[in-house]
Symmetry: C2
DNA sequence: CTGAAAGCGCTAACAC
DNA sequence: GTGTTAGCGCTTTCAG
């Protein structure tokens, strides 16, 4: 029932080598021979055995993507970018859902080591720098999304966290807000750090004093944003706007406001990050930042596949893509006096 | 840099066969030998070559899942169920995002044919019955989620569409609704058909006349639901409740009501299906049906891996899991008089 | 342009 | 318990 290459060879009266050449588009085969071989392939319903190909050729034309959580729209979009790009370049993609478990994430690195994939993309990886650098030093082909690392052989694709955060804060300042709280994500993550940086940068440029009391941590979760906002309120310091480092936390803030009877945007403006679909449906709709997630996956995939095929690498190792502020109801008004 | 099994054998002073036995937990190795081998594995930082294993053993311990669209929460949850289960049973998972493209879906079947995966799970597949039956007849191991097929070798995991749809309609009838519209999904899909069946069944049992004019099609999309609702209104037939075959369409109905100034739930009750996260955030929140998506993936995965290992198959080929009606604001009131 | 043949790295008979 | 060895199905030199 399962035919092999040699069966095709016999049926078409040529050698296995020729069949292989036809199947791999080597140009050095007559049209006539090609046709004969293809006919036999059809008739036998032949499929090349992937394992044998991989073993012999020492490559799989497959790249892996490890994401924290496949349920999160941010990652799902990145996957689309990777998958579509890889598909057009003739590569397959293995998607690995670490399911918020760093141990699983580490497990998946084995796919590289045992040559199941030719390259690996890590989106918002929780792995330590040492691990990644060690892999790269061993000659493994890896790339990062949403993270930067100091190693010549690791391409990184990032969004302009500082820039868009600064845009967000400038937008709020333009609307007359002078006391803007910032709710941070996981404290040790680059995204959090850079977004804070953009926040501070904008304040500084507009000469609005930075007040550390207006910074709280929300761990990127709705619950975390909710609690962080309540802590801010309890401090008794006046503020009229919140910049949350992602939409989940912004949703938490929105919920807290509703419970506390604080009108949005009249008494409190909110801006998040990610352009989560919910931000459009909730009332009031939430302002946010739209990151080109698809593009993050796309650019890195092109780069990595280029590396795999020893293409001359023109571009930058660190690729930064632009994001866009999306103003909705939650920050559409002037600050209260 | 890359060591092979034979290197480990040499270093530990045993034969390749023994190393293989140690690595694959064959019990017939002394503890002492095992330790020596493992030491060499450590020292050499040895990783077995997957392609060679696959080629030699004729299996990959990998199962594939093909989903229509990885962005859709319904599928993401199913994937979690498959992945977690496979993981604990020592299987890897390849996730394939067909990206709403039937051609890609068909492409992915090649993974089975070329032995990249041992089994394939198709969630809400758009493939024709013939294709699936042909695969199964060839001895390929496949399983379906959200679809039924007449073939002894294809296990299917489904939700109780008829049952929960009947529950939905009974709930609306209990609230005094007598004119309940139904918005269907893709007309040729089993889910649509069975949900319609449940709707009709409940009406019949409660002796409420079925009116075909109250049925419209919305293709499972928000836009489709929106348009379908408008068509229903234009007909001028009075109705006070809508059962939409999924939440996307229910969102469309909700939007249309807002635009037309129809108060929910006072003038119009709405119930959807899927327990999409947005249904909780929108105002008014939407009643829906919570399907055990994780379980769908879990059950089928257990079944398929069992088949791969020739375990005696006790259970049913067709596995049906129970769903639960979640009543929220959009259907929380008595029908208007 | 085509064929012969070696061998990718591993496992599973089969011996001992 | 452990070793020897054939061979999984393919690609790729090297000849011709």
């Amino acid at each position: 029932m399962d035919h092999k290459l040699i069966d095709v060879a016999k049926r078409s009266g040529v050698s296995p080598a020729t069949v292989s050449r036809v199947l791999n588009n080597s140009s050095l085969v007559t049209k006539k021979t090609t046709e004969r071989v293809m006919k036999a392939v059809e008739e036998l319903n032949y499929y090349p055995n992937a394992a044998a190909k991989h073993l012999r050729s020492q490559r799989t034309r497959t790249i892996g993507v490890i994401v924290q959580d496949i349920n999160v729209a941010y990652f799902a979009e990145i996957i689309k970018g990777v998958q579509n790009t890889a598909y057009t370049l003739g590569y397959k993609v293995i998607i690995c859902d670490a399911d918020n478990n760093p141990e699983k994430e580490r497990d998946y690195l084995g796919l590289l080591m045992n040559r199941t994939v030719d390259a690996l993309i890590l989106a918002s990886s929780s792995l330590g720098d040492e691990v990644l650098i060690e892999l790269a030093d061993k000659g493994q082909c890896i790339g990062l999304i949403g993270r930067r690392i100091a190693h010549d052989n690791i391409p990184c694709c990032l969004t302009d966290n500082v820039q868009f955060s600064s845009d967000v804060v400038n937008h709020l300042l333009d609307n007359g807000h002078r006391h803007i709280a910032y709710i941070n994500g996981y404290p040790d993550v680059m995204d959090s750090y850079e977004r804070l940086e953009g926040y501070m940068k904008a304040l500084k440029e507009r000469m609005v004093p930075f007040r550390p009391e207006l910074i709280e941590n929300g761990n990127f979760s709705e619950e975390g944003g909710y609690e962080a906002f309540k802590r801010l309120i309890l401090k008794g310091i006046p503020f009229t706007a919140v910049y949350a480092a992602n939409d989940e936390m912004a949703l938490g803030v929105s919920k807290a406001c509703r419970e506390l009877g604080i009108a949005i945007p009249h008494k409190m403006a909110i801006v998040g990050v990610d352009n989560n679909r919910i931000t459009q449906y909730i009332i009031p709709s939430l302002s946010t930042v739209n990151q080109p997630k698809f593009q993050l996956g796309e650019l890195l995939t092109i780069k990595l596949i280029g590396k795999l095929n020893d293409q001359p690498d023109d571009g930058e190792r660190i690729m930064i893509v632009q994001s866009e502020l999306v103003v909705r109801e939650s920050s559409s008004r002037q600050a209260p006096d």
